[in-house]
């Protein structure tokens, strides 16, 4: 800054004629698409929270064994249908850290039920980073350390135990491994089929389009569940849990693609008339290249949003199938399999905690819905 003799101030920096007053705005306009989407998405609080929650849930999956105090099929035959044990911090007004009151079981010979009484004289502190039963991180690395375990000689059932005396809390974490991934595999299958058929129908038109369109219409007009039931009933009962799991996700995906294919087709019908498509064709690009490099990138973001919105349907589908006994079967653990225990009114009346797995289902499905809504709203950053 120099002061001229006549008292004016002048900037010393050399004048750059290229620098524009609109620099700031320019930067915004040139920002990549994903940045704009992210900025807009950030304002959608509910969607953002849901997204973070889902991310954490999926990141947690490999470490389910670490968080859960017990193994998925570890049984405590003295503690069938044990009610939830609250983790407390204060004993008779004194803070002594997280502890539980041990339960003593007693058979009531009039109702033929086990009755559990907490021993409130005898608080037992929880152990942290302790040695539990063996498990594997991500199914590969053997480990024994668990986040927290029951005090010696007693049990910790944060959300109660089920009819075989297995810890509901632990099983929910193990169940998440299957219940949450079933949707991902299903959506991948549905995506591949939907995009392939949708783009072929939309791009080529004519007879192919007609045939694919009819198939879509027929599949869409059929009730899904009876078909799921019929297809899963066809899975041989002697297959292992992993094979059944993959088949179930395949079935869910195979029946889900028509909706997506329809959307892709509609989009292609309008986009294939664009000039850049003709230009690409004239330069000799093959149909496959035009579809993959020029057309699909136009609406990948839309596809992602619609995928997010159809994952919950698959999670609910797996739950329903397993609940009815046609999906995953024990010893596999999924939320639907767990709810199988809560199938009748009697168990909801007497052992309401066996229905706890419905909470993670509701929360996850809601989260996917909110995330999908948020994505859908923020996908057109240039709009509004």
């Amino acid at each position: 800054m120099t002061i001229l003799p006549d008292g004016r101030y002048v900037d010393d920096a050399p004048f750059d004629p290229k620098a524009s007053l609109q620099d700031l705005e320019r930067k915004d306009l040139d920002a990549p698409n994903w940045l704009l989407i992210w900025r807009k998405f950030r304002e959608h609080k509910l969607g953002l929270i849901s997204g973070i929650f889902l991310l954490l849930s999926y990141l947690m999956l490999p470490f389910a064994g670490f968080i859960a105090p017990y193994g998925p099929n570890e049984r405590f035959s003295d503690h069938l249908f044990s009610p939830p044990q609250a983790v407390r911090l204060f004993h008779e007004g004194d803070f002594i850290g997280p502890f539980i009151y041990p339960l003593t079981a007693e058979a009531n010979l009039e109702t033929f039920q086990w009755e559990f009484k907490p021993d409130i004289e005898n608080p037992q502190k929880l152990r942290f980073f302790c040695e539990g039963s063996d498990y594997q991180i991500a199914g590969l690395i053997p480990a024994r350390t668990r986040l927290f375990c029951a005090p010696e000689g007693t049990t910790v059932f944060v959300w109660g135990s089920d009819r075989l005396g297995r810890d509901v809390f632990s099983r929910i974490f193990y169940g998440a491994q299957l219940s949450l991934t079933v949707g991902l595999i299903g959506i991948t299958v549905s995506f591949l089929l939907g995009i392939t058929f949708g783009s072929i129908a939309g791009y080529f038109g004519g007879k192919v389009d007609w045939v694919i369109n009819r198939v879509i219409e027929i599949l869409r007009s059929l009730p899904e569940l009876p078909l799921w039931l019929a297809l899963s009933a066809a899975v041989p009962s002697n297959w292992g849990p992993v094979a059944v799991f993959f088949i179930i996700s395949l079935i869910l995906g195979v029946l889900d693609w028509p909706g997506l294919a329809r959307a892709v087709r509609a989009k292609f019908l309008s986009l294939r008339e664009e000039e850049y498509v003709r230009a690409a064709e004239m330069m000799g690009a093959s149909s496959g290249r035009v579809i993959r490099k020029h057309l699909l990138p136009n609406f990948t973001s839309h596809l992602i949003a619609s995928a997010t919105l159809s994952i919950p349907a698959m999670i609910l589908g797996e739950t329903a199938l397993s609940f009815l006994g046609l999906g995953l079967r024990a010893p596999a653990v999924s939320w639907g399999v767990m709810l199988n225990d809560a199938q009748n009114l009697a168990s909801i009346e007497i052992y309401p905690w066996t229905a706890i797995p419905m909470l993670p289902i509701i929360v996850v499905v809601l989260a996917f819905n909110f995330l999908g809504d948020g994505l859908r709203d923020s996908l057109d950053p240039y709009q509004g």
């Binding site: 009876p226 919950p312 329903a320 909801i348």
Partner: protein
């Protein structure tokens, strides 16, 4: 093309679709290796019981299960004479249930009508709930009415149907004295229709209707709200307000009519999901619809029974979709008859 020709065209495409569906259904029920009878024969052989063998072999011949698959299909559908002459689905013979050892028609019997009844009630419920709530949510958008409606709607979408059913049953029984299970009081079963029976059925219908309809109502409400919001911003609404029309009259007279369109069209999209829901809910609640029959038949590979139930369920959805399509054309003059896919 007038409305009748369109209706006939729609009927024709529906029949074609049904034909394709029948092939699909037949393929699916034949997917599991073996069939009910060959399983039974193997079991009888392994346990050394020879008395049932002759009957099982006889049934196998009688129902053409020893023939090639495509022949079985043709006979099942009634396109080709089987061992009993022309008697397939087309001729009104729905086959034989091996599990129950009775004709399929006898087993499903009443439950067909009850299935239709349950689904009709659910459609009615969807309309009755979604219409006022959707309009209200749009008219009072971004207020607590809107948010409450959205929240309830989301919860309805996210709760698995069968759990909702169990919970509602439990609390309905505990606090409102609603009956548990079944579609009518056991004393009315097999009785002729009477006022008391109708009343009993209606009371039993409350929870199932609510459960099956909730997710559909939620989806439709959101759609209607979005459409209404689109319309509410248009100049003609402003004009109506400016000339001093009462808000309720203005809403029903102009924007609602325009936004109403998907309300009818959507039922076609919702129906498959609803029928699915009703199957599941029936299993959980033990309603005498064809849901539990289907599940049992699928588990025991009772192929004619499960095949018939699947076909019936598909037919139900197709008819519903067709009716909604025809209604739509009648209600909305802007829609061209020549298919909407052009």
């Amino acid at each position: 093309m007038d409305i009748f020709r369109y209706a006939i065209y729609r009927l024709f495409t529906m029949l074609l679709t049904l034909l394709v569906v029948s092939v699909l259904v037949f393929a699916i029920i034949n997917l599991p290796p073996g069939d009910y009878l060959s399983n039974q024969i193997a079991e009888l052989r392994s346990t050394g019981q020879t008395s049932g063998l002759a009957k099982a072999e006889f049934l196998r011949k009688e129902y053409a299960l020893d023939r090639a698959l495509w022949e079985q299909y043709m006979i099942w559908m009634g396109f080709m004479p089987g061992p009993q002459g022309w008697s397939g689905m087309l001729q009104g013979n729905f086959g034989w249930s091996f599990e129950f050892d009775r004709p399929v028609a006898e087993i499903v019997g009443d439950s067909l009508w009850l299935t239709v009844l349950v689904n009709l009630a659910a459609v009615l419920f969807i309309y009755l709930v979604a219409l006022p709530l959707g309009v209200l949510a749009a008219a009072r958008s971004k207020t607590w009415v809107d948010y409450t409606a959205a929240f309830v709607g989301y919860l309805g979408l996210a709760t698995p149907n069968f759990l909702l059913a169990l919970i509602l049953f439990y609390y309905g029984n505990k606090h409102l004295n609603l009956p548990i299970g079944g579609l009518m009081d056991p004393i009315y079963e097999g009785e002729p229709m009477s006022l008391a029976k109708v009343k009993s059925i209606l009371i039993h219908l409350i929870v199932p209707t609510f459960v099956i309809g909730t997710s559909g109502a939620a989806a439709m409400m959101q759609r209607l709200r979005a459409n209404m919001l689109d319309e509410l911003g248009k100049p003609y609404v402003e004009t109506a307000i400016a000339k001093g029309m009462a808000p309720s009259k203005m809403l029903t007279k102009y924007p609602l009519r325009v936004a109403f369109n998907p309300f009818v069209a959507d039922i076609g999209n919702l129906l498959p999901a609803m029928v699915s829901g009703s199957v599941l809910v029936s299993v959980v609640l033990g309603l005498e619809t064809i849901g539990p029959t289907l599940l049992a038949a699928l588990k025991t590979q009772d192929q004619f029974l499960s095949g018939f139930v699947l076909m019936f369920v598909a037919l139900l959805t197709l008819i519903g979709t067709m009716i909604s399509d025809i209604l739509l054309v009648m209600l909305d003059p802007r829609i061209r008859y020549e298919g909407r896919d052009a």
